[in-house]
Symmetry: C2
Subunit: 342 residues, 2 copies
């Protein structure tokens, strides 16, 4: 039977193992899968846009397992007490086509996005990076901070958000965990002295949360908020200066900061850097940009990571998603009510 890792199971897994330990585990799964990138079927996500947001399906397969994620993005949700982004996902057996594992992925996506950011920063940021600026203090922010601490040892944060309550929340969550946190009053303030800048804002429009003059030489930019057509965060002049690394070029040209650049603008894919086929950071003063939109292969990694850690434990439970008649050609037997006596 299909096994379900629901919100309760996911929460217990993360609380028990610990966010940072799971982030490191996930960085390991991501790196393994990015290194075998060419074994995966790379299917662009299927997006359905509406005035309030977007609903997407993100499938991929390595020929053995098949995965897809359902994910929405609705910037107006928090005002109604709802999440901007929620998600769930499925792993299936390619050999039989049967769904094997269903998981909540709101939390899992938060983990995989942060783990992917940190994995990219490991090869793109300066090795002596000590200060992380967070522009946007929403749901993703704490996971970013913990991933950068787990992978790069960063404990100093500078934070900026238009919503003061979000900043207060972030400080309340992270200060007790040992982070030093500076609450910034402006973009100039938040980037001052930062070695890595994560932009993670949710506006569904062409925003410029950062202009080129605000990006110092040697900075690594981790842009994760610009992730659908018409939604960007960066001044295009930053891209002209930067070494740009992406997950999957075809998708990022449509959805990422790249949509502001000509179609032949040169980029490197992260898997190429991880396998050594392309260099990571080449100079101390280079500006690097990970233009991250989230790709299905990272969700595949996150799902198998969660499956491997939870299958066989009481964190999961079976759900009746697949009809199983005794004779596979006799589906009708399942619904055939007893014949009334005539």
């Amino acid at each position: 039977m299909t096994q379900l890792l629901d919100v309760d199971g996911m929460t217990r897994w993360i609380r028990t193992e610990g966010v940072e330990r799971i982030l490191l585990r996930m960085v390991g799964c991501l790196e393994e899968d990015f290194r075998r990138w060419e074994q995966f079927e790379r299917i662009p996500r299927i997006a359905s846009h509406s005035p309030g947001g977007v609903i997407e399906l993100m499938p991929t397969t390595d020929g053995h397992d098949y995965s897809f994620k359902y994910v929405n993005g609705h910037p107006g949700n928090p005002a109604r007490g709802l999440q901007t982004v929620t998600a769930f996902g499925v792993l299936a057996d390619v050999g039989t086509g049967y769904p094997v594992f269903v998981s909540e992925m709101t939390l899992l996506t938060a983990l995989r996005t942060a783990a992917t950011s940190a994995l990219a920063a490991r090869v793109l940021a300066r090795p002596d990076a000590e200060v992380l600026a967070l522009i946007g203090a929403g749901s993703q922010a704490e996971f970013q901070a913990l991933a950068f601490r787990a992978v790069l040892g960063i404990e100093e944060l500078r934070v900026l958000d238009l919503d003061p309550a979000a900043v207060t929340k972030l400080r309340a969550n992270l200060a007790p965990l040992g982070f030093r946190i500076h609450v910034a009053r402006s973009v100039d303030d938040v980037v001052d002295g930062a070695d890595v800048v994560t932009t993670c804002t949710a506006d569904k429009s062409r925003a410029r949360v950062l202009c080129s003059e605000q990006v110092a030489p040697g900075v690594h930019l981790n842009a994760i908020g610009g992730d659908c057509p018409g939604k960007t965060e960066l001044d295009p002049r930053i891209l002209e200066r930067a070494r740009v690394v992406v997950e999957h070029t075809a998708q990022t040209r449509i959805e990422g900061e790249l949509q502001q650049m000509p179609p032949d603008f040169p980029v490197t894919e992260l898997w190429q850097v991880l396998t050594g086929a392309a260099p990571g950071r080449t100079r101390e003063d280079e500006v690097t940009l990970f233009d991250s939109v989230g790709f299905a292969i990272a969700d595949f990694s996150a799902l198998r990571c969660a499956r491997d850690a939870t299958l066989g434990t009481d964190l999961v439970h079976p759900i009746g998603l697949v009809a199983e008649p005794e004779d596979p050609k006799d589906l009708f037997s399942l619904v055939h009510a007893p014949v009334p006596v005539r």
Copy 2:
């Protein structure tokens, strides 16, 4: 919370309400949605092919509800005691992006495929049709028979399958329900005197289960087995003779019997016939063909039909698919373990 209609709930619903009554209910939903066809986003399904079969995602939306179906097709499955086709699906709220209703769809797809066939036959078969030939006696066969009885009043069946056990099963299931059943020994035998011929075989190849000489004038063909690239059931000369009706032209040209014809081969879409924009059967002796591959809008109809019939009853139960932190920007609060005393 998201509500789940699992196999147990689906089975109880169908047994309680009765297959034929649900088929009629579903024909109603399908007709409503096909009549407002142009309100739907028509996205071709996303297929992932492997040597053993195919896994597909089939999304659509009417701007209010969003639906997708996960479905596989693995012809080798029955030999391992597994279903050729299994499926599940989801309805979500376009306004918030939240998944609202998850349903098993192996049974539901069997119902919607049969209901769609009968709906198309209602406008394409001769009104005096009395005999249905079934080529292929697999999981879909009984549902076809019941749908044609519910909608067209047909009670006389002629059945052919390479697998004698499948035919025995079909007879055991349907004879007690009042059908008169002739077990045919050949294609010529099965089509002899048939007014409607349903082809529903599972081979993943270019098959010719029916050649043009075997199709009498006035017959309505309901071809549902040819439903992915490289998989067809009919002699192309049949298509040359027939009035061909499809669900969604762009998809059928890739996946249906139509893939054997030139790209400009003329077809009519079923919604056009149902709205009166195009005629149904025009002559007594016309050969009509519903080249059915299954389209996402029919799954949308089936899902909303099941949702409307089961929400608020004990047939469904809540599952924890969406994380719900008190503060929507504080997802981290869900996994934040208590800080140890220092």
